[in-house]
Subunit: 503 residues, 2 copies
């Protein structure tokens, strides 16, 4: 009989170290984006890589492999608590991927991605896809190889997808995205046929003082996060959220010419932060102190960014205060403001897309990357394919590759299978919000009073408290009683846009 106690002790010790390293990695990365003198970037890359290697060494050590193998044996596994079982299973899954990729492949890919990201940046600056092409070809080839190392029997895109959205498959995505695409295009065409379309007033060009924008960012973060003191908001070029430790969560924001951007993105990042801050204490120091998938994580940001912060209820509560901060809003009514932050207008850049067309950007990327991995398109044709899809789905066409196929960093870093999580999160958020409305008919009137106590606690109880101890599909099923579907999001869009555009 194996004494599992010392094994569990070591398992927790190793987990603690991994999570400390991960938090340190995140601080190095946060500091790089927020504060570091620019010249520090070369040494910082070495520091980040040292932390990454330290995590990888621990995640794949013989000691951990042996512990997990022993604890997975039925006679031992049966003795574990539910959380211990989940921890062992998550390690088993991670090992089943990490152990299969040769070290040389990992190292070669890491170097390639570094160079490819630089080349992508340069190609984007110079609007020259040809410059990026050979690197993207290598990236795709190596990602296919990686997938075949992990499981040569499965569709390589399914294997890659698992890194970001475990449990999701091409089959499911094809189905849900086809429906989503069809329905969004129907709504979009209706909106386009409205006499109000293209006549809406927008916020573009209005000037909001940065100091006041900062204040509203602080306010929305506090509304979402409550009285928690474990947060910090700073400024970076691209907004993001990161966790340094279970008592240290950081949000960044950025101020753009679009005057609503900082508010909206801070709501988004605060939603991510609320999720991580509500993981249960007993998961701290283990790899279960995490989300089961990026899609579920994204749902937690979208729900605050969209269902709350683009809703009439929220602005009934907050508009007076917000309006007072910005002279440019002096003569703009609540109703007009609400329309202005919900204008539909197909555009070229994903991160600037309106709420309705956002998912179309994702579907385009999904369709293209799937075919890249399947080898059914020639990568050198990407600009042509990209542009024709934009034309076909959104009725607009990029004038340059910088505004088209070169706009996102993801592929240059090897993140293939990442994009779908944005749309999945968007669909999950609509499903979750619907369920909350069912569970609490007063929710909308609470939001109209700026009262988010119920929302925070519902999300904690039904989503956050599991950390990564349960799969996304299970969590959704348990919380909502259904599986992923596009309907909630489409209903939400219909309701909102038919009202705004008087359809």
């Amino acid at each position: 009989m194996t004494d599992i106690k010392p094994l569990l002790k070591r398992l927790y010790e190793i987990n603690k170290e991994i999570m400390l390293y991960a938090g340190i990695y995140n601080l190095l990365d946060w500091d790089r984006a927020v504060l570091m003198p620019k010249m520090g970037s070369l040494h910082r890359a070495d520091q980040l890589s040292l932390m990454m290697t330290s995590i990888h060494e621990r995640m794949t050590s013989k000691e951990l492999n042996d512990i997990i193998q022993t604890l997975s044996k039925k006679e031992n596994f049966d003795k574990l608590t539910e959380l211990q079982k989940a921890l062992v299973k998550r390690h088993e899954w991670k090992l089943s991927r990490l152990n299969k990729i040769p070290k040389e492949h990992v190292e070669e890919f890491s170097k390639l991605a570094g160079i490819a990201t630089m080349k992508w940046e340069e190609a984007k600056d110079k609007n020259d896809f040809a410059m990026f092409l050979p690197y993207l070809e290598k990236i795709v080839a190596m990602k296919k190889k990686e997938a075949s190392y992990i499981d040569p029997e499965r569709h390589p895109y399914d294997v890659l997808l698992e890194d970001y959205e475990r449990g999701m498959t091409i089959e499911k995505l094809d189905k849900v995205f086809a429906e989503l695409k069809k329905e969004i295009m129907i709504i979009l065409n209706k909106v386009k046929s409205s006499k109000h379309y293209n006549n809406e007033k927008t916020l573009d060009g209005l000037k909001f003082s940065e100091q006041e924008q900062k204040q509203t960012c602080m306010e929305i973060a506090s509304m979402i996060l409550g009285t928690d003191e474990r947060f910090l908001i700073a400024r970076s070029v691209h907004p993001f959220m990161t966790t340094i430790s279970p008592d240290d969560f950081r949000i960044t924001t950025s101020f753009r010419s679009e005057p609503f951007f900082s508010f909206s993105s801070t709501a988004h990042e605060s939603g991510h932060a609320l999720y991580e801050s509500q993981y249960p204490k007993e998961l701290a120091g283990t790899i279960l102190f995490d989300a089961p998938s990026l899609g579920l994580h994204e749902s937690q940001s979208r729900i605050w960014e969209n269902q709350v912060c683009r809703s009439m209820q929220f602005w009934k509560y907050y508009y007076k205060k917000y309006q007072k901060r910005f002279d440019a809003l002096k003569n703009i009514s609540l109703k007009d403001f609400f329309k202005m932050i919900n204008v539909v207008k197909p555009s070229l850049i994903r991160i600037e897309a309106d709420e309705l067309t956002y998912c179309m950007h994702i579907i385009i990327r999904f369709e293209i990357e799937k075919q890249m991995i399947e080898g059914t398109i020639n990568i050198k044709d990407l600009p042509k394919i990209w542009n024709s899809k934009y034309k076909q789905y959104l009725g607009i066409e990029p004038k340059s590759d910088a505004l088209g196929v070169l706009q996102d960093v993801h592929w240059s870093q090897g993140s293939i299978g990442y994009f779908p999580t944005y749309a999945l999160g968007t669909m999950y958020s609509a499903m979750i919000f619907n369920q909350m409305l069912k569970d609490n008919p007063k929710l909308e009137s609470e939001i109209a009073k700026g009262d988010f106590i119920y929302m925070r606690s519902w999300l904690k109880e039904h989503i956050h408290k599991y950390g990564a101890s349960m799969a996304t599909a299970e969590i959704i099923k348990k919380a909502i009683g259904r599986e992923l579907e596009h309907k909630d999001l489409i209903d939400y869009f219909r309701k909102k846009y038919y009202m705004i555009y008087k359809l």
Copy 2:
């Protein structure tokens, strides 16, 4: 014949990792002091300790021990470059200390220091020395034990001193501090006898706007550091300087009721930063990218804080600009301002001491800690001994232990032998400045024009360029042609204070 190439390669690889860990440790610590949400402190302590352990493991690994042993053999050592020799010798010295202290002792002491520091803080808050006493007794006992592990033949205080000021001994300190004490007391008594004494106007109570203080901090840092872009100034409770990487140096400042504090301390920290930023590139990524001793490091901060930023020359250049920033200075002439920042007034708190009496605070601490280690005083009598020395040397007596023996954090952390480096740095700075004046008779007129190019380059050429590849005494001897002495500092004091107090 040993092939030393692969050994050297590994030595540099290990050094690189050690320095990366050290930089990460410094970032974690900087962030803790500057930004971290307070609640993050427990996890941060774990992160810091993980980095510290990683450094310690590499510094004491069998692999490194073997490499150093092999490279130290005459037939191999002779083949090394001068820098490689210095690197091997520094490792040899570090190993000769680290290897001798049992791991259990290190761990026990680390825990004790953690608790003792908390207890010290509490005791200081409550003004209750008895609360701290048992911890200080344990600290002293364990430090004596540590010294006996390292070398039972040498005076334990000499052994401890080496951690901070390698090459320094009790014998030398006794001699130089006795002279320094005598001479300072002579000057102090003369100053006290001046009719101007105690009638001087001071800056106390003047209000300087924080925004403008920030600006002057930026200005003095830029003057000292030149056009370098590898710096960042932030704010923390206690000012400090730390190095994250050879391209990332951070200074912190703090705003106190004393309106000159932020300026003066920023000059001090910028001096430290200039030192580290002028270590030669070829030392980067090795443990020679460091100062040979804290005393020499301190000289590089003092020289800017005192010889430059409390001099008439400097203020001839800068006062007009500085005065404009602060309404409170409107009616204060350059001459009066110069006197105000050079007022002599014995006071109880070391970090608030004037330039003349500062070293007396150090000498008191040195005399006491030496006797603590020798066991010739009873630690429970510390408050009494402390107070009587303040009475005897400075003519003032603390009304509470919080303002007396409990004021500094050092002993609670086990830093015994650290205090003398402050006074050593102060003496070195006077010697170095004198030498610069000899080498460049125009130096003072350059300072009066805000031109620090010569100073920066002299310091680089004679002090900074060695990093830790040479001992402090050697560097001083080579730069100045003499050994440490108190005279330069005393001459500087005499010249300054006899003029100000019209003696």
